[in-house]
Amino acid sequence: MIPDHLTILVVIIPMLGAYTTLLAGWVKRRFCFPIAMVTICIQFCISLMLLYQVMKTGPLHYNLGNWLPPWGIEYVIDPLNGFVLVVLLFLSLLCCMYSRRCIVDEIEEKKIVGFYTVFLLLIAGVCGIAVTGDLFNLYVFLEISSLAAYALVASGREKKAIFASFNYLIMGSVSACFILIGIGYLYIATGTLNMADLARLLPPLYGSTIIQCAFIFFIVGLSIKTALFPLHLWLPDAYSYAPSAVSALIATVMSKVGVYALIRILFTVFTPAFIIMEIPVMELFCWIAAIAIIVGSVLAITQTDLKRMLAYSSVSQMGYIILAIGIANSAAMTGGILYILSDAVMKGCLFMVAGAFIYSTGFRTIEDLKGISRTMPLTAVAFFIATASMIGLPPTVGFMSKWFIALGALESGQWFFVVIILAGSLLTAIYSWRVIEYMYFRDPDMAHQAAVAGANDPPASMLIPILVLASACILCGIFVTIPLEVIEPSVTRLLGGT
């Protein structure tokens, strides 16, 4: 009985968990964390079972309230969904574990109940985006998760976070409005909201202006949500002033789900036939992505604050995924979807390490971290591994995904973007090597000697997620065939149009 309903349970359970957290926090504040943890654990297990089922039997369809698809809301899980869902929930699980000790310093104690409630609501929204097969439902879940993200960014003690969160709210709402207009256009043109139905009805209408308008609105709206280069202005403030656990969560989960929504709308709703043949948008994507890679890295080099540097590096990493989408052949798409995994793993690790430095020493700027590797060895090693993956050194998962993207660029004859990828790696090496040099090869300044000497590796509940992610960077690179087994069928589905 239950196995048929896993699709809906993955969305319902965190919502129930959120309200249970609220009630439990009313009784005793200590109960909040275990309930949140158990909820996400259950969800993670469900997502693994879903992925297994999808790989065995093909896509799962679930009709909400037994209404048939064109009228009712349909939840669909295919290999891409299942893969993204597993990645998202894995990261959420580790972020939740990490948050327990980390937020003690950064959030007032009476807000902890609200923190975990909103945390679970965000995960509910994100899972909803991942499983839904209905455009309007996607908009609603996008708004649920965005509202939760605004609240989480502003939840800390940092003063500037409030204004950053407000800017995020304004930009996010504009993007949501654009997506809403796009959905309206599509609905007026076709009279349906179901993604599969839309893909079936759209081809005869490809020439019409309405469809092109809708497409442009979708692209602009989702570009704001994913912080594609010219529209990234809300991102650095929001990422760097949020509490560390929240930075790790939204940098991995929120941005990745935005990319997923972009892929879904580009390749499932508007089939490749439209985006490649009808309007030359893919070339535009490639160039914007190339600019994003270079400019994001250059801006990251100029930063002095560690979390801010990571935020700008997120902008540049997002460029790689968009570049892969823009090249749009099977090798590049494989690399792009693998990059969703690798960027989530390494960015999560790096933000967690930055949070651990703040937790142990209180230092935010890079120069203060001189000589920190002697007293926090494990954290420093994790930072080194994640950076190596971000640069793209061979055994790591970052290397594999960049390799596939470059392969795709070569296959389609766009050798220029291979140069861009290499240049991006070089710039990444420049800004991250500076941090590593400070951590390993410099002596601490006089003023900070006592603080650096007194620092320790963070407590186990923070260290375990960091080390798990760091080892995942290497393991996913060595055993890359395991994720590829899921990614390849999803790429054929996306590009084949079936």
Partner: protein
């Protein structure tokens, strides 16, 4: 040429009006420096989109989508109405979150003008 323009204008002037109001709202969100004005602009923007949806559901000679006993009744399309109900809920939650943030900004900085806020941010 000009005649066809007028014809199409009077057929669909709802949509033209919706676009004008949308642009007013977007202008307020971008150009106004007061944060409350920005939220007001957001509200105007969102309602204009709802107007766009509702206009799309109109059917000539249709009545409200409430079940009548007469089988020959023509109803307007109820699906956009349901979508907009959901979107109104989202809009009011966004407004509430924005206002709560504005109150905390005022408590921290003592102002809700964006330019003054930016000056204060530079200082710290």
């Amino acid at each position: 040429m000009i005649e066809t323009f007028f014809q199409s204008f009077f057929l669909r002037y709802n949509f033209y009006m919706a676009v004008i109001i949308m642009l007013i709202g977007l202008y307020a969100m971008i150009a106004k420096s007061n944060l409350i004005k920005k939220i007001i602009g957001l509200n105007i923007f969102q309602t204009a989109i709802f107007l766009f949806y509702i206009s799309s559901s109109e059917v000539t000679g249709g009545t409200a989508p409430i079940l009548m006993s007469d089988p020959g009744t023509v109803y307007v399309n109820p699906l956009p109405h349901v979508l907009i109900l959901t979107a109104i809920v989202v809009a009011v939650s966004t407004t509430a979150v924005g206002l709560a943030l504005i109150i905390r900004i005022y408590e921290t900085y003592g102002t809700i003008e964006e330019d003054e806020l930016l000056v204060q941010e530079e200082k710290t």
